[in-house]
């Protein structure tokens, strides 16, 4: 189920600015970025402002608010995207991460599906 695969099991990395997450598209097919929404991220119970998150796919980086403006950029169904989070990660080897990704499949008008994936992730 997509709900179990959005957060990749070995996908949490500490960075100078905070941390990165390796994530998967929560649908069976590729989607354009204009139909993808990073709706909510909480780490260890703390909600992180989505303005502090950058979204990278195909080697290109977008602000989360700008995704809707990119119908030409595809997130292939097998590829990871990366969230670059400009917010410190608490010390410790394991963290509780909950990510909600919204999609609007472009052939189903009015369908806005929010999927929340919650995992305890080890820092890699």
């Amino acid at each position: 189920m997509f709900v179990t695969r959005i957060l990749t099991n070995d996908g949490l990395r500490r960075t100078a600015a905070g941390f990165d997450l390796d994530i998967r598209v929560p649908w069976y097919r590729s989607l354009p970025l204009s139909t993808v929404e990073i709706a909510e991220l909480t780490v260890d119970g703390e909600t992180i402002d989505t303005k502090l998150i950058a979204f990278e796919v195909n080697g290109k980086t977008f602000t989360t608010g700008d995704l809707i403006n990119h119908p030409e950029e595809w997130w292939f169904v097998l590829d990871s995207a990366y969230l670059h989070v400009n917010h410190p990660l608490k010390p410790g080897a394991g963290h509780d991460v909950a990510l909600t990704v919204g999609i609007r499949p472009p052939y189903i008008p009015g369908f806005h599906r929010l999927t929340e994936c919650k995992k305890r992730l080890a820092v890699n």
């Binding site: 189920m1 997509f2 709900v3 179990t4 695969r5 998967r24 069976y28 097919r29 590729s30 354009p32 204009s34 139909t35 809707i68 119908p71 292939f76 169904v77 097998l78 609007r104 472009p106 052939y107 189903i108 008008p109 369908f111 806005h112 599906r113 929010l114």
Partner: protein, 334 residues
Amino acid sequence: MTTVKGLRLGVTLFSFTSEYHGREYSLDQLLEKVAVLGLGPGVELVGFSHVRGFPNTTDEFADRFKSLMGRLGLEQSCLGINADIFLDPNKPMTADESLAYHTLQVETAAKLGFPVARYQFLAGPDVIRRLLPTAERLNVKLGLEIHAPHKVDSPEVMEYREMYEKENSPYLGFIPDFGASATAISPAYLRFVRNLGMPEGLISLVQEVWQQPDNPDRPHGKHEDFVKRAADAGFAKENLSECFMAFGLFSRMEPERWLEIMPQIVHIHGKFHDIDEKGEVPGIPYEKILPVFVEGGYNGYMSSEWEGHFFSDEPGFPKVQAHHALAKRILGRA
């Protein structure tokens, strides 16, 4: 082209979404396993799932794919194409843009050797009418998928039937999805939403509204009624998006109704979400549905389409094997 007549079995690789999205099997490995397990010969792909760069493709990919299919003794049955009218959610495609988008997908279907392209009703009859010369030139039949909540006589489907009658081309057809002939919401869906923590009162409301008589003029009417009643009852909005699926995956058309369009059926989606220990599909009466297609003289493939991966992480291959066994039993080929 095969010369076998009647209803032939096959599979859509959509059934193996867990294996594929979960990176356990590549496209090539899925095809190899389909061949080993004898789940062909018909193989259906979803363009936007299985072809990187779709609606475009490369000569190299096409050559490798066709050569692998041939080596494995499999046959291209149908390519799923999409009416992505809302690529930009705020600015739907114009008819000309949609025609160009569909043309490219049909060209790719031809390049990959598919005789049928499954399209979606959002394309619109006028775009499909304009796409017809391309389909005829490339020898790819266009099949409108009739999927829940639509029926053979829903207003949106009737617009296509009227256009088909005027054009009178064998390249214009239909693809039934058997989720449209359900008798109940699949227990797989109900287990899933219970596990998500959806309130029991809301689950009951979904089932109650789903069981009500259909209004043929309002295929989406039940979902609209449900949303209103759920909001009136004070249920949280975030639970409602999963309820949409119950009305979009299952609807209740009597199997005999497929006879009305039988000569125009070019492919079938043998949809199921669950298969029990007796080898039956709860909520979709295959024992009534398949004889209708035998009686109607259907000649073409049925892709076994396990969609339970929306609701479960169980592997798809045993589900499809059980579905083939069910179809063979009903068709007397066991």
